[in-house]
Subunit: 208 residues, 2 copies
DNA sequence: ACCGCTCTTGACCATCTGATCAAGAATTAA
DNA sequence: TTAATTCTTGATCAGATGGTCAAGAGCGGT
């Protein structure tokens, strides 16, 4: 077992390397088939390790899953954190929306991983949602609310505005298959989507 | 086996009754745990039938799943079908959005069932998406486009507008857990959501 | 009451899958 | 080199799960 004397969990070169391999493979598999739909064998095969070897690094299937979620959660919220109360509302919101939709484009698997987790009741990250996530959202909702108070944005419930941004942007990752079925796999999908979503939110939120 | 002489598949009273029982239970289970995450036993227990008895009506687990999807697909698209090219654009869109968000409120399980299916690549309804769904969406996108041509709506790519409406409304069913975690289970959630979404789309789309 | 058909079920099976373990190979520090 | 530690794996297990089957119970028309 890789070290457990209570102090420093210092990792071997092989250890960090294989853990990265495993998490990368796990993202592929879990995002495609969900937790129950994925097997340890699939993940092991995908990263070229034997099943017992994989279970040497992560003792249980669930440990891989949780590690993977934690590993990507921070990045996932970065764009929202970056929204600056001192900045111009229109610019800040545009940047946020653009950042979110590009995450959908560049890392759809992470989006689908979360979507699946939440869809099934967020058994692994429920406390995170009620804690850190809620705090961050409340904070940023207050910022947006401030912008609306000063008349620089049309008034809308800021929490629901955030939900709307999340849903529209993540839709292109999570419902990828549906979008492409309806649109017939156009090459410039995401830039068109970005344009439409920005128009909807930004033009819609500009005060008249 | 219940009738199979090639002609009329007329059903017994018990047959229709039990099939309904099964589909109702299956919706509960499949929407909560996904296809792979659900077991035939769970469904059987939930509707008070023995597993072999359930498999007498639906020979394979997948048959239940497919039947369930087909059974709800038609209802699901009804609001979009109802959108009338001859009506007033603002009224038609308002009605559509309102209908969609109320479906999210009244039948979140069906929404999660579809979300799960699509998230996993739509193995069971892929052809439906590329066929009937695409046709319907293309038709209604053309209607919306016509409204925009006549200057009664701000110009936005109509397909992406439809996707935005789908995503924002269904978000409240599919990501229910997240929404409630962030908002702390408020009693009037859906009416607030309805108000915010209507404001966003309708105010945003009114030509200036 | 009888008969054919539908319905129900306990027992059972094959397979899949998460997880364990002991033993051997590779790596590292001295 | 050597010894301790880390890493790897074939074999194996226990439980879960989708699906089958034969036999019996129930129902409906005559």
């Amino acid at each position: 077992m890789p070290h457990s004397d209570g102090t420093a969990p210092r990792k071997t070169r092989i250890q960090t390397q294989n853990e990265e391999l495993i998490l990368a493979a796990a993202l592929e598999v879990f995002s495609a088939y969900g937790f129950r739909g994925s097997t340890v064998d699939q993940i092991a095969t995908k990263c070229g390790l034997s099943k017992p070897n994989l279970l040497y690094y992560f003792r249980r299937k669930e440990d891989i899953y949780v590690a993977l979620l934690e590993h990507t959660l921070t990045d996932w919220l970065e764009p929202l954190r970056a929204m600056d109360a001192e900045g111009d509302p229109i610019v800040e919101l545009s940047n946020y929306i653009t950042a979110k939709i590009r995450m959908s484009r560049d890392n759809p698997k992470a989006s689908r991983l979360f979507a699946n987790e939440i869809l099934h009741g967020a058994p692994a990250i429920g406390t995170f949602l009620k804690g850190p996530l809620k705090e961050l959202v409340d904070e940023k909702a207050a910022v947006i609310s401030g912008w609306m108070d000063s008349g620089r944005l049309t008034r809308i419930d800021p929490h629901h505005l955030i939900f709307s941004i999340w849903s529209t942007t993540q839709h292109y990752a999570d419902f990828d298959v549906q979008v492409n079925a309806v649109l017939g796999n156009p090459p410039d999908l995401m830039s068109k989507a970005e344009e439409a979503i920005l128009t909807l939110f930004i033009e819609g939120l500009k005060p008249r």
